[in-house]
């Protein structure tokens, strides 16, 4: 069944139609890639899913619950996490603190007045965060400041933050953008090795990444879904070629 159901979503900025009647169903447990030329509306769509933008029209349902007019943090609490194009971490905090935050968020919800909670009570949660960090291979940076990590490690850390509160849907906005070859490979490996059951929506330019990760691909162009299918189906799709070539000519 579809965990995410985007229905007839439209959004325009002034005169520019960024999204036009977008319909998209993401199946539970799959890795679904969103591709398309620049300005096709991929990031806009992700922003709609995370509550950053409000569409003019249409509906988005996540696991049977509406996502529109819901705050970003509530969306996250529902089980949707987002990996940003530039790794978004808490640079002046230690790696452990970075990961502790989502662990608290999972336990306490979006706001909790536990102002005086001592370390003793926090210990199991901190231990869980440490475990997460180890799982992503960042244990030797446990007490380093996140801002001092390499880009690849920051990406890993961001992933750890996203996974720590056990999301059901992970949105990835060009997770390998600006990465060196070996870092990209590591990231693919990381994504592939992730625990089963997490649905992933990935926006990506790098076709190697897309084809090595995605089970299903949707193609966006000029705010519309122009094609959808398995990687093999998309590879030779005439509309897709047209859309990309069209861009190249501009």
């Amino acid at each position: 069944m579809a965990i995410l159901d985007i229905h007839q979503v439209s959004l325009s900025f002034g005169g520019l139609k960024a999204l036009q009647n977008v319909n998209l169903k993401i199946e539970k447990g799959t890795t679904h890639a969103l591709i398309g030329p620049n300005g096709a509306g991929k990031s806009t769509l992700l922003n709609v899913l995370t509550g950053m933008l409000k569409p003019d029209d249409g509906s988005v349902m996540f696991d049977g619950k509406p996502l529109l007019n819901v705050n970003s943090f509530d969306i996250n609490q529902l089980g949707i996490a987002k990996v940003f194009q530039t790794p978004a971490v808490f640079p002046e905090m230690t790696v452990l603190q970075n990961v502790t935050i989502p662990v608290f968020a999972a336990r306490d919800g979006s706001f909790n007045l536990n102002m005086f909670e001592g370390r003793a009570k926090q210990r199991p949660l901190i231990e869980f965060a440490e475990q997460q960090i180890c799982e992503l291979g960042l244990e030797k940076h446990m007490y380093s400041l996140a801002g001092s990590l390499s880009r690849g490690d920051k990406r890993r850390l961001e992933m750890a933050i996203c996974l720590a509160n056990k999301p059901r849907l992970l949105l990835l906005d060009e997770p390998t953008a600006g990465m060196a070859r070996h870092e990209t490979e590591k990231t693919i490996e990381l994504l592939n090795s992730m625990q089963d059951g997490i649905t992933k929506v990935i926006v990506e330019h790098d076709m190697n990444v897309v084809f090595s990760l995605a089970e299903k691909i949707s193609v966006l162009a000029q705010g519309q879904i122009i094609a959808e299918g398995t990687p093999d189906e998309i590879k030779g799709h005439p509309k897709v070629i047209e859309a990309y070539l069209g861009e190249a000519q501009v």
């Binding site: 705050n71 943090f73 996250n76 996490a81 978004a88 808490f90 640079p91 706001f111 007045l113 370390r119």
Partner: protein
């Protein structure tokens, strides 16, 4: 790291502060201080520790915290004058009043960030100052200040001299301890995360706005307690309590001491008040010029304030011991 969960480690700073503060009447006079100034320093320690919860943790620079300090002081004064000379109801009502104002101002101003937030808080505080000076003169005494309160009483205890010093100092120690508790609680972590990356925090399922408001209100409560204690210490309220110079002074105390360290701003408060009231006398008419130059020197040479200076000294004298 987790083995640090023992009492001593956690409360080292608090215990040290308690020791320094409680013995102040013994050592402060040696360096030219006097009773009265020590009380005032303790009151401002409360103010700046609270302020650091906002500025140091969340990174929001308020230029209007004098509003909460001043409103609370006025309410305390009016309560002492017209209700009862017992300080307990006066402080409670004053802090409550300031808290209500803080919630309203916080809700309005925290929608803005950066300099816009600072200027909004400044505008609110200046508005209160102007109102106290003009519209509300009948109640605030305007330029002359609010005077004519009875000697504040803690039930049967006269709040004068050493009594008021120890009362204020115990409050300061308690409130510093509370601030430390907040710092290592999940709430403290969230507040610090706001300063680092608010967007990431929101996408990690945290309602940043509520935590910001919480930080704002907590810092306002600290400011309000300090304001109320000012009146307990000296039954007088000057309109200066509300002015931007007062807000600015707290910002300077924090920065000069070291933002975000809780202890640093207290050092800053102690230094500023000591300089202004003791060293200034020896420097004569040009004391303010020297103070201005010190501000500049500290920011230029010690970007993290006194706390960085201390850290550097520690590094120089202690790393050789356990280094390598």
């Amino acid at each position: 790291m987790l083995n640090q969960d023992n009492f001593w480690q956690h409360n080292k700073a608090v215990l040290l502060f308690a020791l320094v503060a409680l013995t102040m009447p013994l050592w402060f006079p040696i360096m030219g201080g006097y009773s009265g100034l020590d009380t005032k320093i303790m009151i401002f320690c409360i103010f700046v520790v609270g302020f650091d919860i906002l500025l140091g943790f969340t990174g929001y620079l308020s230029f209007g915290h004098a509003a909460f300090f001043g409103i609370s002081a006025y309410v305390t004064g009016i309560m002492l004058k017209s209700f009862s000379d017992n300080i307990i109801p006066a402080i409670l009502v004053a802090v409550l009043a300031a808290t209500v104002v803080a919630v309203i101002i916080g809700l309005l101003t925290l929608k803005r960030t950066g300099i816009y937030f600072s200027i909004l808080t400044l505008a609110f505080a200046e508005m209160f100052d102007s109102m106290a000076m003009s519209m509300l003169q009948k109640w605030t005494g305007g330029e002359n200040g609010l005077t004519g309160m009875p000697t504040p009483m803690l039930f049967n205890l006269k709040m004068q001299g050493d009594t008021v010093f120890y009362f204020v100092t115990f409050m300061a120690i308690f409130l510093f301890y509370m601030a430390k508790r907040i710092e290592r609680s999940p709430v403290g972590l969230m507040m610090k995360a706001i300063k680092c990356n608010q967007t990431r925090l929101e996408f990690t399922g945290i309602n940043a706005r509520k935590y910001k408001l919480l930080a704002f209100v907590i810092s306002a409560v600290y400011a309000a307690i300090a304001g109320a204690l000012m009146v307990v210490y000296e039954p007088f309220v000057g309109h200066e309590f509300l002015g931007w110079h007062q807000s600015g002074e707290v910002v300077i105390m924090s920065v000069i001491g070291g933002v975000g360290t809780l202890v640093g701003p207290m050092l800053g408060a102690g230094f500023m008040l000591y300089f202004e009231n003791v060293l200034s006398v020896d420097l004569g008419e040009q004391w303010l010029l020297v103070l201005g130059a010190i501000f500049m020197a500290v920011v230029v040479f010690m970007p993290g304030g006194f706390m960085e200076g201390i850290a550097r000294l520690k590094k120089r004298y202690f790393t050789t011991v356990d280094g390598e």
